[in-house]
């Protein structure tokens, strides 16, 4: 049933280059933030090399700074990264069936918004060589960008680093506002989450809930409301169109 597809490592590396360049600036910011939060340079780089995700890492950083519990950390990472499950699921249909389990275990580490989008945009199936190639440059860009940012953050004077506290949140705003501008449904979900979050923070009694759990509660409630009010329409792309448009696409990419 499967159409012959793409399986060239060279083409993968080539396609991954623009992603890597985009990752440099974001990971540079993460490196600076991590050092500003009091982490050593090598820890910042280690986090990037073992997580390879922007929102999850920034969220993890703020939880480490807040001294959150391990359960809060696990639930937050689960919630904020759950979209990867959906991408992973879509990729399981796109990947060449012949790819063995060990390779699937390794390849899945490289699923990010951008890598997913490029892989899904290929015609036919995607082979393991192509996918490994595609992962390579973004992974290097992400790791090296973090290293550069962390080193820059270490040499900046304290009074500059102090003003960087808002940077993480500025990034979050930059991630969520563009899609919210284009989608009324996302606007409603976002405003609901923000309103609930403020309520849980300021209202008496409710403000006893720890911030980590409050965020998870707000997220689940607002996302459920969105799913009830604005169910995503099933998109069945007509034959010949880009397969990457099938299903909920992530919109947080640059």
């Amino acid at each position: 049933m499967q159409a012959p597809g793409v399986n060239s490592a060279k083409k993968g590396i080539h396609d991954g280059l623009p992603i890597a360049l985009g990752y440099l600036s974001v990971s540079f910011t993460f490196g600076m933030m991590a050092v500003a939060a009091g982490l050593p340079v090598w820890v910042a780089v280690l986090i990037s090399m073992t997580n390879l995700t922007s929102a999850g890492q920034f969220a993890g950083l703020s939880l480490i700074t807040a001294g959150a519990s391990m359960v809060e950390m696990a639930l937050t990472q689960l919630t904020i990264n759950i979209r990867y499950s959906l991408m992973s699921l879509s990729l399981s249909q796109k990947l060449d069936r012949a790819v063995s389990l060990p390779h699937r275990l390794a390849l899945s580490f490289g699923i990010t918004d951008e890598i997913f989008a490029v892989a899904m945009g290929q015609t036919g199936t995607v082979g393991k060589r192509y996918f490994y190639g595609l992962m390579l440059m973004p992974y290097l860009g992400w790791s090296l960008g973090t290293l550069a940012g962390a080193l820059a953050g270490s040499v900046l004077p304290q009074w500059v680093v102090g003003a960087l506290g808002i940077a993480i949140y500025g990034m979050f705003v930059a991630i969520i506002l563009p899609p919210a501008r284009h989608s009324p449904a996302i606007r409603v979900v976002l405003l609901t989450a923000v309103a609930l979050s403020c309520l849980l923070h300021f209202a008496p009694v409710l403000n006893q809930i720890s911030s980590g759990f409050a965020i998870i509660l707000c997220t689940l409630a607002a996302a459920a409301l969105g799913a009830l009010l604005f169910p995503l329409r099933e998109e069945k792309p007509p034959a010949g169109t880009d397969a990457g448009q099938d299903g909920p696409r992530d919109e947080t990419e640059n």
């Binding site: 991408m87 992973s88 990034m171 930059a174 979900v189 409050a214 607002a222 169910p231 299903g247």
Partner: protein, 107 residues
């Protein structure tokens, strides 16, 4: 160095990996539930929104500088500027306000 750092790193890496790995390795079917698909799609926006507000207002040395920084971030993000541009502009705004506060001895 923050406490319990090794545990944090382990939990972050493990959970993030499992979420990516499980469907690709073990699942061969598509999620059909429209509710579940929609829910999973909206989760990312809801979570970032809840994480940002109201925490952004307490992320600097004064609420005033944070509010100004937030306004700058929102204005630029609405115009779809890049992540780094928005983040650093917010920092710059905070920086300027805090310097002014020190000069004027504003509370």
């Amino acid at each position: 160095m923050p406490e319990r750092l090794p545990q944090y790193l382990l939990v972050m890496a493990t959970v993030t990996y499992l979420v990516r790995m499980a469907p690709l390795a073990f699942f061969r079917r598509e999620i059909r539930s429209v509710f579940l698909r929609s829910f999973l799609y909206y989760v990312q926006f809801a979570m970032l929104g809840a994480m940002t507000f109201p925490a952004i207002f307490f992320s600097t040395n004064s609420v005033l500088s944070a509010v100004v920084g937030t306004l700058v971030a929102v204005a630029l993000a609405w115009r779809e500027k890049g992540l780094l541009t928005v983040a650093l502009s917010a920092c710059g705004a905070v920086f300027v306000v805090e310097i002014l506060q020190r000069i004027v001895k504003f509370p």
